[in-house]
C-alpha cells in the first residue's frame, strides 16, 4: 500500500488514539506515538504527523498526559509522554462513547 492510500483519521478520534497508544506502552515521544498509531492500525491509519503536537498540548493542559524530557537511544533530547490516572479515566470514557457511536453506525450500515 502506498502511503497516499492510507485513511485519514476521523476528526476527534486522534485524542483517543494517543491515549490508547500510551495506555499500551509505558512512555513514548511524539514520533514514537505517530509510528505506533500507524503500525498499530496495520498501516491503515495515517496521522497528519504535525497535528499530533497541538493534540499533545491539549492533552497536557487537560492533565491527561504528563510529559518529561529525556534522551532517545541515539542520545537526542526528546519529550516522553505518559498517561496520568485522569488520562486513563478519560480514555475509558472516550472508548465507551466511541463504541456506542460506531455500533450505531454499524447498525445503520449493515443490512437488516
Amino acid at each position: 500500500m502506498s502511503p497516499d492510500a492510507r485513511e485519514e483519521i476521523l476528526p476527534g478520534t486522534l485524542d483517543m488514539l494517543i491515549l490508547k497508544t500510551l495506555a499500551a506502552r509505558h512512555e513514548l515521544h511524539g514520533f514514537g506515538i505517530a509510528e505506533a498509531i500507524e503500525t498499530g492500525s496495520g498501516d491503515v491509519l495515517r496521522v497528519e504527523e504535525g497535528s499530533l503536537y497541538p493534540a499533545l498540548q491539549r492533552l497536557l493542559i487537560k492533565g491527561w498526559l504528563r510529559g518529561e524530557w529525556g534522551k532517545t537511544a541515539e542520545n537526542r533530547r526528546a519529550r516522553y509522554y505518559r498517561l496520568t490516572a485522569a488520562g486513563r479515566k478519560q480514555l475509558e470514557a472516550e472508548v465507551a462513547s466511541y463504541r456506542r457511536v460506531s455500533l450505531a453506525i454499524e447498525r445503520i450500515l449493515s443490512p437488516a
Binding site: 502511503p3 515521544h29 511524539g30 514520533f31 505517530a34 497528519e48 504527523e49 504535525g50 497535528s51 499530533l52 503536537y53 497541538p54 498540548q57 491539549r58 497536557l60 493542559i61 487537560k62 492533565g63 524530557w69 532517545t72 537526542r76 533530547r77 526528546a78 519529550r79 478519560q90
Partner: protein
C-alpha cells in the same frame, strides 16, 4: 465532558508565564520528529534530499501548527489584545489633538465628579465613627440646668422647662443622654502660653458615643458633679504634640489658672466636637465656673442614644408633647416666651439625627453641588461621545477598506474598543490627579463640627463610578459607528470617498450636541445666579470699614476686674502711643466672627405694655469708645463711651439704628432709658450708631446694644487697631502690646478684619467658585463641541461648497449655509436648557441671596454667553468653507 478545574487553570497560567520556554520545547519536539522521520526514510532507501522534503510534507504546515498549539494554551487572545492596544496606541499617537482633547474632557468630568462625591460622602453618607451612629440624635433646646447658686434670679421661671436631667429620665425613649459644647481655655505652658480648643462634655459622653480612652479612663460621676475634682482628658494629637507624648497620666496641667489632673488620652484621630484638643467635664447642674471656656453663654448641644426599637419620629412626637405639658404649666410672667419656644420646636424638629445636625445648612449646598457635578460629567460624556462619533465618521472609508480586505468585523470593533478603553483609562488617571485639587477647595465648605471626625478623603468608589461612566460612553460611542462602518459596502464607500454619511450617526451627533448645549445652559444659569448672590453678599453694607484693621482675641477669665481693666488699658495706651497706628479699641465679640453671640430681651422704660406684643431682643456687646472709631462704625446721634463711663457711673448704652427704631419709632432715643433682661436697673441711651452685621453677611440685621467696657467689663475680648502699615507688621504690634501688658497672656485668632470677613463668606465663595468653575468648563466643552460639529460639516460638504462657489455663490451665502447647520441645534438646546433651568432654579433658591431664582438678567445673559461662544467656535470652520477653491474640488474628483 471534562470541566476545567483548578489544576488546569494553574497549568494555563504556567503556560502564560513561561510561554517562551513552552514555545521552545514545542519547536524542539517538532524538529526532532522531522529529523527522526527523515532518518527513517533514508534507512528505507530514500535519497536524502527527497527524504527531507517528504518528512516536511508529512509533518504539515508548521506555522499553522504552532498557532494551533498557542490557541490551545489560550495565548492567542492575549497576543491579539496586545496587538490591538499597540495598534490603538499608534493610531492615537497619529492624532494627538483628538486624543489629548478626549482625555482632557474625560479627566475634567471624572475629576470634578469624584471630588464632589468624595466630599458628599464625608459630609452626608459615611456614618460617623461612633458605635451605632444611626441611633445618635440631637435634642433641640435641651440644656443643662444651672445650679441655683449660680442663677438666683432665674430659679423661679426656670421650673417650667425641659432640661437634660429631665430627658435623662425618659428611659423608654433614650438609652442615654449627654451634652457637649466647644470652647477655649488658656493653658500655662512656660514662656509660650497656649490657647486650646476644649470640648466640655458630660461625664459619660464618650461611653455614649461608644469611644473609650486609649489610655487612662473616662470622667467619673464624681468629676461630672458641680465643684467636683478637676480632671482633663487629652486628645492623642495634643498629647503627642504640645505635651511631647510623655507619661502624663496622673500629672496635672493648668488651664485658666486651675490645675486639672490628666485622667485619660483618647485614641488617635478622635477630636469631636470641633477639633477639640482636650476635654473637661460639663457638670450637671452647671456652675459659674462652667462658663469659663465660653463667651457669656454655654453653646451646648444635647444629644441622646435612642432606646432600642424607638424611631426618630416616635421620639420627636413624644418629646414635643412633653414640652407642651411642661410649658403649659407656666402661668408666670415668662409664659409669653413659651409659645415662641414651642413654635421653634415644631418648626424644626425636637429630635434630629446627629449627623444631620452636624452638617446643618451645608447639606443643601452639597446636594446642589453634586447636581452641578453630574451635569458636568454628562456634558463631558456627551462631548466625548460626539468626538468619537466624528472620529468614526472620518474613519469609515478606512474601516470599510479593511473590511473589504478581510479584516473580521469583530476584530475591527475590538480595535476601536481598545482605543476607547485607552482614552477612558487615561482620562480616569488624569481625573484621579485632578480630583484632590478640587477636593482641597471643597474642604473649606465642610461644616466646622464635622471637621476632624469625618475628613473628606478621595473616595475611590466615586472615582470608579465616574470612570465607568466615561468608559461606557467610550465603548458605546466608539464601537457602534465602527460596527456600522464595518458592515457598510466597501466599494460604495471607497468610490464616494467616504462622503455618504450614515444618517443615524449624524442625527446621533445632533442629539448629543443639543443635550450638551441644554445642560450647559442649565449650569451657566446656576453659576450666574450664584455669582450674583455672592456679589450681593459682598456688596452688603457691613456698617463698618474692615480695611486696614488688625484683630486678635484674648481671654482673661480669672483676673479680678480691676487687674483685667488695667491690663486692657495698658494695651490700648501702648497702641495709642504708636504714631503709625491711627486708633485702637476693644470689643467682647468681633462682628462676623462666625459664632453666635447673646441676645437679651429689652424693654423701653416708657413703653406702653400691650399683651401679645413680642418682646424685642438685642445683641449684647461690650466695647470702648475707640472700638467704633477703629472699625469705622458711624456715630449717628449723641456720643460714644469715655473712660468716665465706668462701673461707678450710672449705667449707659450705645444702641444701633435698628434697636433705636424698634424701641422708639417716633422719638429721639438719646437720653431715654430701657431695661435689659427684666431685672437690671434701667440704662440710659447716650448714642446711636450704624447697624453692624454681627452674625453673617447673608443673615439679617439684628438690633444691637453696646455697654461700656469700663462699666461692664468682659472676660473675652478682641483687640482691634487700624493702621495703613502692612498687615503683618500691624498684627505683630498687636501681639507686642499684649505681651508687654502680660507676658503670660495667650492670644488667638490673630488676623486682619478682612480675613474675618473672608472666613465668613468662605462656604458661599467656595460653592460659587465651584459651580462657576463647572459652568466655565461646560462652556468651553460646548464651544469645542460646536466647533467639532461645524468643522466636520464643512469638511463633509467641501465639494458642495466648491460647486456652489463655482456657480456664483458668495462667501456670505456659504457662511449662511454653515451657520444653518448649527442654528437649529443651538435654538433647540438653548430653549430646552432654559426651560429646565427655570423649573430647577427653585432647588437653588435656598442658596441664593437677594436674587430671584428666575432672575431675568441671568436668564438672558447665560444663553447670550453661550451663543457668543458658539459664534466664535463657528467662525473658523465658516471661514474655511468660504475659502473652498472650486478648482481644488474639481481636481480632487
Amino acid at each position: 465532558m471534562h470541566r476545567p478545574n483548578v489544576l488546569e487553570m494553574m497549568r494555563r497560567v504556567r503556560y502564560l508565564v513561561f510561554r517562551g520556554r513552552y514555545s521552545a520545547d514545542l519547536e524542539e519536539e517538532m524538529r526532532l520528529h522531522i529529523a527522526l522521520r527523515e532518518a527513517k526514510l533514508v534507512e528505507r532507501g530514500a535519497a536524502p534530499v527527497d527524504a527531507h522534503d517528504t518528512a516536511l510534507r508529512r509533518f504539515g504546515n508548521r506555522t499553522n501548527l504552532r498557532a494551533r498549539s498557542r490557541d490551545i494554551w489560550g495565548l492567542n487572545w492575549l497576543d491579539d489584545a496586545f496587538a490591538d492596544i499597540r495598534f490603538a496606541f499608534r493610531r492615537l499617537r497619529a492624532r494627538p489633538g483628538f486624543a489629548l482633547a478626549t482625555i482632557l474632557v474625560a479627566a475634567l468630568g471624572i475629576g470634578a465628579t469624584t471630588a464632589v462625591f468624595s466630599a458628599i460622602d464625608a459630609a452626608l453618607i459615611r456614618p460617623l465613627p461612633f458605635a451605632h451612629p444611626h441611633e445618635l440624635v440631637t435634642l433641640r433646646l435641651i440644656s443643662v440646668p444651672l445650679e441655683p447658686a449660680a442663677a438666683p434670679s432665674l430659679s423661679a421661671e426656670t421650673q417650667h422647662y425641659l432640661y437634660l436631667t429631665d430627658v435623662a429620665k425618659m428611659h423608654d425613649l433614650f438609652s442615654g443622654v449627654g451634652e457637649y459644647a466647644s470652647g477655649g481655655l488658656n493653658m500655662e505652658n512656660g514662656p509660650r502660653p497656649l490657647r486650646v480648643n476644649v470640648g466640655v462634655v458630660t461625664a459619660h459622653l464618650f461611653a455614649l458615643l461608644g469611644v473609650s480612652p486609649e489610655r487612662g479612663r473616662e470622667f467619673t460621676d464624681e468629676e461630672g458633679k458641680p465643684h467636683g475634682p478637676r480632671a482633663v482628658i487629652l486628645s492623642d494629637a495634643f498629647w503627642r504634640g504640645p505635651l511631647g507624648g510623655d507619661d502624663v497620666l496622673g500629672t496635672s496641667i493648668r488651664l485658666n489658672g486651675n490645675a486639672y489632673t490628666v485622667v485619660g488620652i483618647m485614641p488617635p484621630s478622635f477630636n469631636f466636637p470641633n477639633e477639640s484638643q482636650l476635654w473637661i467635664p460639663l457638670p450637671v447642674p452647671m456652675t459659674i465656673a462652667t462658663f469659663a471656656p465660653f463667651r457669656g453663654y454655654v453653646p451646648s448641644v444635647a444629644f441622646a442614644r435612642l432606646a432600642p426599637g424607638v424611631s426618630i419620629d416616635e421620639a420627636n412626637g413624644q418629646l414635643l408633647s412633653r414640652w407642651r405639658q411642661v410649658l403649659h404649666q407656666n402661668t408666670g410672667p415668662t409664659a409669653k416666651y413659651d409659645e415662641r419656644t414651642l413654635r421653634e420646636l415644631a418648626a424644626g424638629h425636637a429630635v434630629r439625627p446627629l449627623q444631620r445636625s452636624l452638617v446643618g445648612d451645608a447639606r443643601r449646598a452639597f446636594v446642589i453641588l453634586s447636581g452641578a457635578a453630574i451635569l458636568l460629567l454628562l456634558i463631558a460624556c456627551a462631548n466625548v461621545a460626539s468626538m468619537l462619533l466624528s472620529d468614526a465618521a472620518a474613519r469609515r472609508p478606512e474601516i470599510a477598506l479593511r473590511a473589504a480586505l478581510g479584516a473580521s468585523q469583530s476584530r475591527m470593533v475590538r480595535q476601536v474598543l481598545a482605543e476607547s478603553v485607552m482614552l477612558a483609562s487615561a482620562g480616569a488617571a488624569l481625573g484621579r490627579a485632578v480630583a484632590p485639587a478640587v477636593l482641597g477647595v471643597l474642604r473649606a465648605m465642610m461644616p466646622e463640627h464635622l471637621a476632624g471626625i469625618a475628613p473628606a478623603q478621595l473616595d475611590l468608589r466615586a472615582l470608579a463610578f465616574a470612570a465607568a461612566l466615561a468608559l461606557g460612553t467610550g465603548l458605546a460611542f466608539g464601537s457602534w459607528p465602527a460596527a456600522i462602518a464595518a458592515r457598510a459596502n466597501a466599494a460604495e464607500m471607497i468610490k464616494s470617498g467616504g462622503r455618504g454619511a450614515t444618517s443615524s450617526l449624524g442625527s446621533a451627533r445632533r442629539i448629543l450636541m443639543t443635550a450638551e448645549l441644554a445642560l450647559t445652559v442649565m449650569l451657566l444659569v446656576g453659576s450666574g445666579l450664584m455669582i450674583r448672590s455672592l456679589a450681593r453678599v459682598l456688596d452688603q453694607r457691613m456698617g463698618m470699614n474692615p480695611e486696614h484693621v488688625g484683630t486678635l482675641e484674648l481671654s482673661m477669665p480669672d483676673a479680678p476686674r480691676g487687674i483685667e481693666m488695667a491690663k486692657v488699658h495698658a494695651m490700648l495706651s501702648r497702641l495709642a502711643a504708636e504714631p503709625d497706628i491711627a486708633s485702637a479699641g476693644v470689643v467682647n465679640d468681633l462682628p462676623l466672627r462666625g459664632q453666635g453671640g447673646i441676645s437679651i430681651a429689652v424693654t423701653a422704660s416708657d413703653a406702653v405694655k400691650t399683651p401679645g406684643d413680642s418682646t424685642p431682643f438685642a445683641r449684647y456687646l461690650v466695647a470702648n469708645g475707640g472700638y467704633f472709631e477703629t472699625m469705622g462704625i458711624r456715630l449717628l446721634r449723641g456720643r460714644l463711651f469715655t473712660s468716665a463711663d465706668d462701673s461707678l457711673a450710672p449705667p449707659v448704652a450705645v444702641i444701633s439704628e435698628t434697636l433705636a427704631r424698634t424701641l422708639w419709632p417716633n422719638a429721639d432715643p438719646v437720653g431715654k432709658t430701657f431695661v435689659v433682661g427684666g431685672f437690671q436697673p434701667p440704662r440710659t441711651v447716650i448714642g446711636v450708631v450704624a447697624d453692624v452685621r454681627e452674625q453673617t453677611l447673608d443673615g439679617s440685621v439684628l438690633p444691637e446694644m453696646y455697654f461700656s467696657l469700663d462699666g461692664s467689663g468682659a472676660p473675652n475680648l478682641a483687640l482691634v487697631a487700624r493702621s495703613t502699615m502692612p498687615p503683618k507688621a500691624l498684627l505683630a504690634r498687636l501681639r507686642d502690646a499684649v505681651r508687654a501688658a502680660d507676658p503670660s497672656q495667650p492670644v488667638y485668632n490673630v488676623r486682619t478684619m478682612d480675613d474675618v470677613i473672608a472666613a465668613d463668606v468662605v462656604p458661599r465663595r467656595t460653592n460659587t467658585t465651584l459651580i462657576a468653575m463647572f459652568g466655565a468648563i461646560a462652556l468651553a466643552l460646548a464651544a469645542f463641541g460646536v466647533y467639532a460639529v461645524v468643522s466636520y460639516g464643512v469638511t463633509r460638504r467641501a465639494r458642495e461648497f466648491g460647486i456652489r462657489a463655482a456657480v456664483g455663490a458668495t462667501g456670505r451665502d456659504i457662511a449662511a449655509l454653515v451657520g444653518r447647520e448649527i442654528a437649529w441645534i443651538l435654538a433647540l438646546g438653548l430653549t430646552l436648557g432654559l426651560a429646565a433651568a427655570w423649573t430647577l432654579s427653585r432647588v437653588l433658591s435656598a442658596l441664593l441671596y437677594e436674587v430671584s431664582g428666575h432672575d431675568v438678567a441671568t436668564f438672558a445673559l447665560a444663553p447670550a454667553v453661550l451663543l457668543l461662544s458658539a459664534l466664535v467656535a463657528t467662525l473658523g470652520p465658516a471661514r474655511r468653507a468660504m475659502r473652498v477653491d472650486p478648482s481644488d474640488v474639481m481636481r480632487a474628483e
